[in-house]
């Protein structure tokens, strides 16, 4: 192509390997193929424009995911999702939510389809944190950077999101193995 400049080439070599992961995340956020594609394209364009402000040595992946997420949140679907799903006001109270084995087994033994269904129904604030942690395998600090929230909030949202997932999946299973009365 044209005489591309160095920073653009550097950007390409860093950003293109993230394309699939960013697209996957965008699809899970927006639930729509063409919207996800537009989001990814816009993310790349914004990121390249802002690349001169990206500090080398800091986390490029978190930076790209943050741009993608912010782009999504200002999109129509994103605004709706934010409005319709108020975050649990008492987030911190959710920290240290304990698991219950039968529920956890419901997740581990659920079919791929059931898991995908549950994940897509998870409120946005929990869906994104579970995706970043379990699918992207980001560290808590990295997730905190993507979401621009403290690490404690990452941990409590994660705990709560996972609990919601477990409950959603466990409720699909026969009542016999469901545990309704809390922990032993």
């Amino acid at each position: 192509m044209q005489p591309a400049n160095d920073s653009q080439q550097e950007f390409e070599s860093l950003a293109l390997p993230l394309l699939d992961a960013l697209y996957n995340f965008a699809r899970w956020l927006s639930h729509d193929q063409s919207e996800a594609e537009d989001l990814v394209q816009e993310t790349f364009a914004k990121a390249l424009r802002g690349f001169s402000s990206f500090a080398p040595g800091t986390d490029f992946r978190a930076w790209m995911f943050r741009i993608l997420r912010n782009t999504f949140l200002t999109s129509r679907t994103g605004l709706q999702a934010k409005l319709t799903v108020p975050l649990d006001p008492d987030e911190e109270a959710a920290a240290g939510v304990t698991w219950e084995t039968p529920e956890t087994l419901a997740v581990a033994s659920a079919t791929r389809e059931a898991l995908q269904q549950a994940l897509s129904e998870l409120p946005l604030a929990y869906r994104e944190v579970v995706l970043l942690c379990d699918v992207e395998e980001m560290k808590y600090a990295e997730i905190a950077e993507v979401l621009s929230v403290p690490i404690g909030t990452v941990m409590s949202r994660l705990a709560r999101g996972r609990k919601l997932l477990r409950q959603m999946l466990a409720s699909q299973r026969p009542a016999v193995i469901r545990k309704v009365d809390g922990r032993r």
Partner: protein, 258 residues
């Protein structure tokens, strides 16, 4: 700690975010607590199931082409000066400065670095990774002095395997390892100790992306010594505050196992 307290901390365990001392204590606890052991196992399985289910979509070839076109178009607009100068690193430099820099490069015979991917500061970035890891509360993800524990832990986490030497009888001990990312590429970060010093050994697939021009190199930095070489397609980088000779000894041990 009671089971109840451990269960509240299990999330940190399955996410590999538990501090090493706590990890040791937890391992000791699960050794004789089947309840906590099965809880940890089922949570790990749940995490794995979610990971597989969550990797659902891939960018289509059309999207890939579109994105590449967007980036290259924007890049060439920028090179052609169509964007505001302040938004570009390249044209923010006056022409005379670029010319002066080019002359300096020529004078120094640095054609070697002409390939932009060979960033000379890559090695400094390894030093940063070393410092950042030592400063973190959780420097290692797998805590073990046993090479037969550490090596298999990396399986499936990094896209290659490597061998670890027997350290018995040497002044070095293996403290553990973690997955490190360098220019988006996963690799192994092993932490050794020598007396009270920590030594980081980074192992990555060798590629121009790593940006290390030298086939092998050692450097007496201002605060860190650094040693790097390639071996079997892998790039090894040792970083530590120990003296260069000690670093060389560890390098020699690692090199015995191609």
């Amino acid at each position: 700690m009671s089971c109840r307290e451990w269960q509240d901390r299990l999330q940190g365990y399955v996410d590999a975010e538990m501090p090493p001392q706590e990890m040791e204590a937890f391992r000791a606890h699960v050794a004789h607590c089947p309840d906590c052991a099965s809880a940890a196992l089922s949570l790990m399985e749940a995490k794995g199931a979610l990971r597989r289910a969550g990797r659902r979509y891939e960018a289509s070839p059309e999207l890939r082409a579109r994105v590449i076109a967007t980036v290259r178009q924007a890049g060439s607009d920028e090179a052609a000066g169509k964007l505001r100068p302040s938004s570009s690193r390249v044209i923010a430099w006056p022409r005379w400065a670029m010319a002066a820099a080019a002359v300096l490069l020529l004078a120094a015979g640095l054609f070697f670095f002409a390939d932009r991917s060979q960033r000379p500061n890559s090695l400094a970035e390894f030093a940063d990774l070393h410092v950042a890891t030592l400063a973190s509360a959780n420097p290692v993800e797998v805590v073990s002095t046993d090479r037969h524990t550490v090596k298999p832990w990396f399986q499936g986490r990094i896209p290659f395997t490597f061998d670890l030497p027997e350290l018995q009888g040497s002044p070095f001990t293996l403290d553990g390892g973690r997955v490190a990312y360098f220019h988006q590429e996963p690799g192994a970060h092993l932490i050794f100790s020598y007396q009270k010093h920590m030594i980081s050994a980074f192992i990555f697939r060798d590629s121009p992306q790593l940006g290390i021009a030298q086939a092998s190199f050692s450097n007496r930095g201002t605060s860190f010594n650094l040693q790097t070489w390639t071996q079997g397609g892998l790039r090894y980088v040792l970083v530590s505050d120990v003296n260069a000779a000690t670093l060389q000894n560890l390098a020699a041990l690692l090199q015995q196992h191609p």
